[in-house]
């Protein structure tokens, strides 16, 4: 490596690729180092590829809403093979309690100028007739979209390269030092700022970060066009999937542009093995069939696992490390890495250029990781 790079990004998932694009577009010299042999091979490829406004907390909604707007702007110039589609999300309310939650959710979305329409029972079935009878209603969020994330990551990296960024694949970083990184072969690469974007593996390089891998399973079916039109999520999703450390499943389904159905979701801590856990897949599919009975009897093509980067409070770490101003963290997005990639990248480039960010960056500061670690100890 010759010359000093402004920004060295460790990790070539969609977050790292987005960071590379934002920094290179801003005129900074950028290098990206990825252990895999191509961009977006890990969690980026394993996930559902959703761009969703999520309201788990005000900070989560601010981040996802902001990022969704950035995706909306970018969508016009994304290559066709990214399969971007604004299919919208239907949050399904099974009973009156969940209808009340749908109404609260609608209020929160409206406060952020997000379109969200409460659906009575008959509205729900008019939109998605294949859902099982007896559901209470739901909430339609038409601005949510899906894409094929590995291709989107490749498009972002290509954009970075057009602005002079260099990407190195098959290079694992084994240590971070002030202003430089050390590769597995002992070589060192220097940069004014090092960005850690290695998702669920971030704690390997910064052990103070309480990021834990949280395994998910997905099933994809053969092509069954027009069976479902929106992304479907049960309103019990938040309480069932996010609530505890125990293994959990929740109904979440996407119609892909090919007509295939992507069926999730599961969450498990403490599974290093990428092999498929048949017991949790059975639970997940049973849950899915309970909402969409027509799934029973369809052909599945593949089942796989992936690892989300889970944090203690459900928010990603985006910002400089306390006491290490040269080190910027962009990791811990759990299920929202695709959604929040562009906002994460913008917060990084704003920080590096001294621009005022469009959303308050404090809630995502890695400083809280050190605080949380102290509190937990």
């Amino acid at each position: 490596m010759s010359g000093r790079t402004d920004v060295l990004i460790v990790g070539g998932g969609i977050v790292g690729a987005a960071c590379a694009a934002a920094c290179a577009q801003a005129g900074l010299t950028v290098a990206l180092v990825e252990a895999d042999l191509a961009v977006g091979m890990d969690a980026t490829a394993a996930g559902m590829g959703q761009i969703v406004a999520m309201d788990g907390s005000p900070a989560e909604l601010a981040l996802t809403r902001y990022s969704q707007r950035l995706w909306d702007d970018l969508a016009r110039s994304l290559p066709e093979d990214c399969e971007y589609e604004r299919c919208g999300t239907l949050w399904i309310a099974a009973d009156d309690d969940e209808m009340e939650e749908a109404a609260r959710k609608a209020t929160r979305y409206h406060e952020h100028a997000l379109q969200a329409e409460l659906l009575e029972q008959r509205d729900l079935y008019a939109l998605e007739p294949a859902l099982r009878p007896g559901l209470a209603g739901g909430l339609c969020v038409p601005g949510d979209s899906i894409l094929y994330a590995p291709r989107a990551a490749a498009a972002l990296l290509a954009e970075a390269e057009r602005h002079g960024a260099r990407a190195l694949f098959g290079c694992r970083v084994r240590a971070l030092h002030e202003g430089e990184v050390e590769l597995d072969d002992g070589a060192r690469m220097a940069a004014r700022t090092v960005v850690l974007a290695t998702g669920a593996r971030a704690a390997e390089l910064i052990p103070e970060l309480p990021i834990r891998p949280r395994t998910g399973h997905l099933v994809i079916t053969e092509r069954y066009p027009a069976l479902v039109r929106h992304q479907l999520v049960e309103l019990g999703y938040v309480k069932s999937a996010h609530g505890t450390d125990a293994d959990s499943v929740a109904f979440n389904l996407q119609p892909r542009p090919t007509g295939q159905l992507l069926i999730g979701s599961s969450r498990q801590y403490g599974r290093a093995d990428p092999a498929v856990d048949r017991v949790i897949v059975a639970r997940m599919l049973k849950r899915a069939i309970a909402y969409l009975p027509v799934l029973h009897g369809l052909d599945a093509l593949r089942v796989w696992t992936g690892q989300r980067a889970a944090t203690l409070d459900g928010l990603p770490y985006i910002g400089p490390c306390p006491g290490r101003a040269w080190l910027f963290v962009a990791a811990g997005h759990e299920g929202l890495g695709i959604t929040a990639a562009l906002a994460t990248a913008r917060l990084l480039s704003d920080h590096l250029l001294g621009r005022a960010p469009e959303i308050a960056p404090e809630p995502y500061s890695p400083a809280r990781a050190w605080l949380e670690t102290v509190v937990r100890a």
Binding site: E222, R223, Y224, T258, G297, L298, D299
Partner: protein, 82 residues
């Protein structure tokens, strides 16, 4: 003489011997294209032994059935995506 059974292939009346596969009925009906690929290319039976999945058709409303592995039944409705 084997028993004859009647079914429909793309709405057309076809008769085959009992014990014939759906793929055989497609041949009787003169249908070579079973389905279309993601890119819209025509696909037809290749292996005939249930391995290649190229001969999938819709049978009685159920998509992606392998026509080489399923025997014809009386009044079956077979649809291809040719």
């Amino acid at each position: 003489m084997p028993e004859r059974i009647a079914l429909h292939v793309n709405g057309r009346h076809v008769e085959v011997d009992r014990g014939s596969t759906v793929l055989a009925a497609l041949a009787v009906a003169g249908v070579a294209i079973c389905r279309r690929s993601v890119q819209g290319e025509p696909r037809g039976a290749l292996c005939g032994i249930g391995v290649c999945f190229e001969c999938r058709v819709t049978i009685d409303g159920v998509a992606h059935r392998r026509s080489c592995q399923i025997l014809c039944r009386e009044a079956m409705e077979v649809r291809t995506d040719g």
